[in-house]
């Protein structure tokens, strides 16, 4: 059986000027949590949006392979894609405050997707919405269904977004930094909720984040993105135990991992920022910020295997 989501050499550029995603490849299996990590601006969100075909106008998507349950998504018409979206694959976003339409009630926004994809009555749809609201930990769901988004806090809105995404029992849920805009205490609650739901419903979860603490706790697999490409991909335990790419190593040094970090030892940091890369760029995009870089990094870099499903993109051998 084919994997839930397969992405191979995905490329996205904006009007041929900026290459936001440059040959990203990864696979999400059924029922696993796959984390895409990296700094802001490294193309994580664009990758997620391009899978859902939600990119803004002016953006172009190309891929060698982009398939969902073995079905090619590339040539799909707008209509066919809309039949999958919100139905088989759903997505939640970074900004819960603005992601709900201010003009409609929570109930109306939750039920309209289900009513489009399934032949159900408004009554049944409302019942399911109430069930899901209860499931994502919202008390008095009946009351919330009749309320407007501005009457809800950010944490509540994100819970509503999650419940809304689950309305049609999707097989794949893409969560694009779902906790970044929330208070720290609420962040933990939402993450726990996502992890629980993923396990209970057997969701394939593609979680985009820049928080390695989150990754360590809930990911099955991790792909580290840098400047539009996956530089290292491994099972979570392998990646944390044996990071291969200098960028991954740098990232891990920036995070206090319990048990791994000594008292009084300063946290690391990676100097510089993610460069903007135009088309036709060659070599390793990290070389400007890398302590191991030499002149060979300006040429095509090989992908090495570090055993099992652990691979990385660097001139340095495993």
């Amino acid at each position: 059986m084919s994997a839930l989501l397969e992405v191979e050499r995905l490329e996205v550029d904006f009007g041929g000027k900026v290459a936001a995603v440059r040959g990203t490849s990864f696979t999400v299996e059924r029922g696993e949590t796959h984390c895409l990590v990296g700094e802001s601006g490294c193309g994580k969100s664009v990758t997620a949006l391009s899978i859902m075909d939600l990119l803004a106008r002016g953006a172009r998507r190309r891929a060698q392979r982009l398939s969902f349950e073995g079905n090619d998504l590339r040539g799909l018409s707008d209509k066919a894609m809309a039949r999958l979206r919100g139905n088989e694959m759903a997505m939640i976003f970074q900004e819960p405050m603005t992601s709900l339409n201010p003009a409609y009630t929570v109930g109306s926004q939750m039920t309209e997707g289900l009513r489009r994809h399934r032949k159900v009555s408004q009554r049944e749809a409302t019942d399911r919405a109430a069930d899901l609201l209860a499931r994502v930990g919202i008390t008095a769901p009946g009351l919330r269904l009749g309320q407007f988004p501005h009457q809800l806090s950010g944490g509540l809105r994100q819970r509503v977004m999650i419940a809304m995404a689950l309305m049609c029992e999707p097989k794949l849920l893409i969560a694009d930094e779902p906790t970044t805009a929330l208070d720290v205490t609420v962040q933990a609650q939402i993450l726990r909720l996502l992890a629980t739901l993923q396990r209970d419903l057997g969701l394939g979860l593609l979680l985009i984040t820049h928080d390695l603490g989150i990754v360590a706790r809930i990911a099955t697999r991790v792909s580290v993105m840098y400047a539009g490409e996956v530089v290292e991909s491994a099972a979570t335990a392998d990646l944390f135990a044996n990071p291969k790419h200098p960028y991954t190593q740098g990232l891990l040094r920036c995070v206090p991992v319990p048990g791994k970090i000594q008292r009084d030892q300063p946290l690391g940091s990676i100097p510089g920022t993610v460069p903007r890369i135009g088309p036709g760029f060659e070599g390793c995009a990290f070389r400007e910020r890398c302590g191991f870089a030499d002149e060979t990094c300006a040429h095509a870099v090989p992908r090495h295997n570090a055993g099992g499903t652990h691979d990385f993109l660097c001139r340095l051998p495993a």
Binding site: R57, R83, L84, A90, L100, R116
Partner: protein, 305 residues
């Protein structure tokens, strides 16, 4: 919400009162009204008699409050020229102007909304540029001249529509189109800008992520939010149309309130002039209030506040 309505009402009443003062002052600007009513051939005795008959011999302040007091009971005085009650005169002519205004607004919305929406959806394309060109042209079009041109083309050369009067319903078409023309640029630009803003918002991305149809995304989710300012401006535009219909009514010889005002100005019939100014201003104020209330209905955030 109630507080908001009360506040708006108070402002509306104050505006109406100020307009009454202005309308009153306006008609006293020309100096001695009795002289102008009496006409050029009148003797000094005639003028004194007229002054007495019309109550113009009383202090101005008394005249003002007398007028206000009567106006509040619906008595707008008598027309000097038409020799009849001003209120009934305006009542007779108002349906023509209101029909014209509504026709104009309907045509304007029927043109502006689709144009604005399509231009927003195809932002940056040739169609979008063509729509913007149309709005620029519409803004520069002198309405009375456009009326004359339409008259020549559709009235005389093609003979499709009557050139004047509203004896039949199709008499409203050309004046309505001309009136609509003045509002189409503003409404189209607003629709386009509102739709572009709405379409770029996060909740539209959510709607797309739910797999909704294009029509539902555009009309249910985007237009609903873009419509909030459009409703406000549409009401204001209707007010401007009613006020501006004086030119169109003249061109097409429609005997509405605007035409009445024009005749009265020519005849120095000041009770009619001040009453028309006041009635139009009150209608405008009422329309803006209606627009505010409709906004509150459309925007749940306002309702709560």
């Amino acid at each position: 919400m109630l507080q908001f309505i009360v506040r708006r009402l108070i402002v509306a009443l104050l505006v109406a009162a100020t307009v009454m003062v202005l309308a009153f002052i306006l008609t006293r600007l020309s100096g001695d009204l009795a002289t102008s009513i009496a006409g050029p051939g009148a003797t000094a005795g005639d003028i004194v008699a007229i002054r007495k008959a019309y109550g113009l011999d009383r202090p101005v302040i008394v005249q003002f409050f007398d007028w206000v007091g009567r106006a509040l009971t619906g008595d707008l005085g008598d027309s000097y020229f038409f020799k009849t009650r001003v209120a009934s005169l305006i009542g007779e002519r108002m349906p023509v102007t209101l029909t014209l205004g509504m026709t104009g607004l309907t045509i304007a919305l029927l043109v502006s909304l689709p144009l604005g929406i399509l231009a927003a959806v195809r932002e940056g394309t040739g169609f979008d540029r063509a729509v913007q060109l149309v709005t620029v042209i519409g803004q520069a079009m002198p309405s009375f001249w456009l009326g004359l041109i339409l008259m020549i083309v559709f009235g005389l050369q093609l003979g499709w529509l009557p050139t004047s009067g509203v004896d039949t319903w199709d008499g409203y078409i050309m004046p309505g189109v001309v009136l609509a023309f003045s509002s189409i640029p503003a409404l189209t630009r607003l629709t386009r800008a509102g739709m572009i803003q709405a379409m770029a918002s996060d909740y539209i991305r959510t709607a797309r992520a739910k797999g909704l149809s294009r029509a539902s995304i555009l009309l249910k989710h985007a237009l609903r939010n873009a419509a909030i300012p459009i409703v406000a401006i549409a009401a204001v535009q209707l007010g401007f149309m009613l006020g501006g219909s004086i030119v169109i009514e003249q061109v097409f010889a429609l005997h509405g309130v605007g035409f009445l005002a024009w005749e009265s100005i020519q005849k120095n019939d000041f009770p009619v002039v001040q009453s028309v100014v006041m009635v139009l201003a009150v209608i405008y104020v009422a329309l803006t209030m209606v627009a505010d209330l409709m906004n509150a209905v459309l925007d749940p955030r306002l309702r709560a506040g």
